[in-house]
Symmetry: C2
Amino acid sequence: MSARLDPVLARLDAGGDAALARLFDLLRIPSISTDPAHAADCARAADWLVRDLVSLGFEAGARPTPGHPMVVAHGGTGARHVLFYGHYDVQPVDPLSLWHRDPFDPALEDTPAGKVIRGRGASDDKGQLMTFIEACRAWIAEHGALPFRITIFLEGEEESGSPSLVPFLRENRDELTADLALICDTGLFDRDTPAITTMLRGLLGEEVTIRAASRDLHSGMYGGAAQNPIRILSRIIASLHDEQGRVTVPGFYDGVQELPEAIAAQWQGLGFDAEAFLGEVRLSVPAGEAGRGVLESIWSRPTCEANGITGGYTGAGFKTVLPAEASAKISFRLVAGQDPLKVRDSFRTTVRAMLPADCEASFAEHGASPASVMATDNPAFEATRKALSAEWPREAAFTGSGGSIPVAGYFRTELGMDSLLTGFALDDDMIHSPNEKYDLRAFTKGMRSWARIIDALAE
Amino acid sequence: MSARLDPVLARLDAGGDAALARLFDLLRIPSISTDPAHAADCARAADWLVRDLVSLGFEAGARPTPGHPMVVAHGGTGARHVLFYGHYDVQPVDPLSLWHRDPFDPALEDTPAGKVIRGRGASDDKGQLMTFIEACRAWIAEHGALPFRITIFLEGEEESGSPSLVPFLRENRDELTADLALICDTGLFDRDTPAITTMLRGLLGEEVTIRAASRDLHSGMYGGAAQNPIRILSRIIASLHDEQGRVTVPGFYDGVQELPEAIAAQWQGLGFDAEAFLGEVRLSVPAGEAGRGVLESIWSRPTCEANGITGGYTGAGFKTVLPAEASAKISFRLVAGQDPLKVRDSFRTTVRAMLPADCEASFAEHGASPASVMATDNPAFEATRKALSAEWPREAAFTGSGGSIPVAGYFRTELGMDSLLTGFALDDDMIHSPNEKYDLRAFTKGMRSWARIIDALAE
């Protein structure tokens, strides 16, 4: 029993409905950062958060950037200074037809696995960031003030490559540099096992457009005489992997290390069920590099994927066109040792070398962030691991993550600050997909987890 | 001088503005047959034609089909019976942003090469079919009646695979069977040289959709573990051609003959300028089968092209999704000797054989029509060649065509009727592309050409 923590937990338990109502308010704002049509919605989400944080006593503001605003809020006093990071922007919602409700009209739904909060951003990342804000709210309500200095830093461009992040960190280095960053944008290892993510893949995003003729052509008139950008683009994408599933871009694996045996053994001990992981999305055979397990493939191996492709006529029916251009969005997940800019250069050189006569390629950048490996010897890691283990049925684990949280890398390179990543999402939350959800249990135990972590870090 | 023909030609010359106004009325109707949203517009175009033909004394009606209506009109009397075929439906207009005016607000525009009629369908095929109707109008106005029986048969699904055509021909065999079909949906050989098209490629349209996971996945969470349908589809498309540009579908070239030397020599004599043909659309190197010329490739060799591809996130910005599915529209241009259904079966078998575990392919049909070779020994061919040669600066030529006019094949197989194809389009008419046009000269000399042909066939 803890006289300092227990009343905060009790207050969180009593205030669940009000916390949920606040989250729903935030989820109703369609803050899709990648779509320029939603710029005003992003600003609205930032303002909503500023108002809420000011109401808690934070000194908070929505700070302009060339893109969407950053929310920065300061609360608490003392020598210890912790920065909390989350993002208020969300992914696009297409294909809308696959949602069973309006993505921006959130609701609590009953499912066989329990109650879930349904809506875009419920898990990634509005639900997660609100677990921290609610823990602060309860702490302040109970004790009058936070137990140490907390800066809350909420980004609005995480889902669109964070173009303003590094300049903003540089311009506000002193204000944002703390002893440690807490980042809440990752998941539980499984329903009952909390995780602190200590390895994160980096991400390189490239958009390539192939152009041939000066205009769309009739395939009857020109078929057999003119280049077809769809065929060229298909050939390029097909060539990016060999028969063993390895990426063929020259130099791609330079610097990539095999997983240390100690880490491999720890991951082995997690009892990961690859069959169930794949089966949940109706797959059965791991599709990555031959001879590597699923956990190794998604946590510690680099990949190359096509995330989108378009060219020619894609409407209903048929149109016998030879299109003038075709384009694809290609992403590379990167691991420790890989230089994103070297990979980009090699990729572009490879594509250009494959172009036949009369064809040209152009490229658009969509971010380039390196992988991160966390400093787990910081005592905050063990304190947090214990706090999480007290809240959840199983002991917390140090894990890897296939996703990219570029901000962790930038906190290190720009601010010299370590990051501790923990969060409460689940693999089946359908983030970036239709019908995104966040378990109500993740939200309630997430708030309680942060109260415990704040308590642990206050020691 | 011909007392029967000359006054008809004079009447056509005097009535040019009124003929153009009628064509504009028809062009204003957005009869895009492949898009279900335009079904009512297709019906409106059919009704417009029926009203116009009834006003000329034709017994005309818009006849229902499971798709868009067929226009059938009967005029004239006598033992000789000729059927005229055209189509009133048009291609989609995307990308709309590349049009320099509303595609359905036609106008006469001045260009360095002379006046053109700008608008979707101006060349393909509304402008062309109206050249025949205007010739009939002038003939009837001058002589009180047509010189022989003419049935006008106008389709509304030519640009969407003609799904209702064969059943309609079968159900109305007696009514539609004539001594010869005149089909106006092809082009001049060049500005000054009219053409009678005697070889036509067939067309097989297939839409293939590759599915893997049960939903879109996050490429961070699943990248390296899950199949990516875009990669699989790209690999399939890339594999459809070998390094020599030959189609790899097994059995694809079964039955395909090399071009007879006599025809090759005749085509050689046409003085085709491959460099100018490709240069007009900013290309320089023929992209088809290695070692074959452009004219041979587009008139007498079969091809395979991807006409459209889509998968994953294709909007602005970036989305790190592993899509659940990706699809492509693939078409095959076929030549004499190829069986469309055998090619379809082999294509589908080939695709299915390339699927890795956990992936499935589904197929949608978009037409399957064989190539056609015309019966040039029918005396109407020589009569028409002479009539065309009298109107245009150069002698008319017998040519091939890379495009597909499936109706010519169906007239033969379903009605036992030969077809004679002539028309006045040019390679730079941008049919199926933005800014479609029809030369005013093609329209006026086209009307005069049909008057001459009607006169020649009346002998």
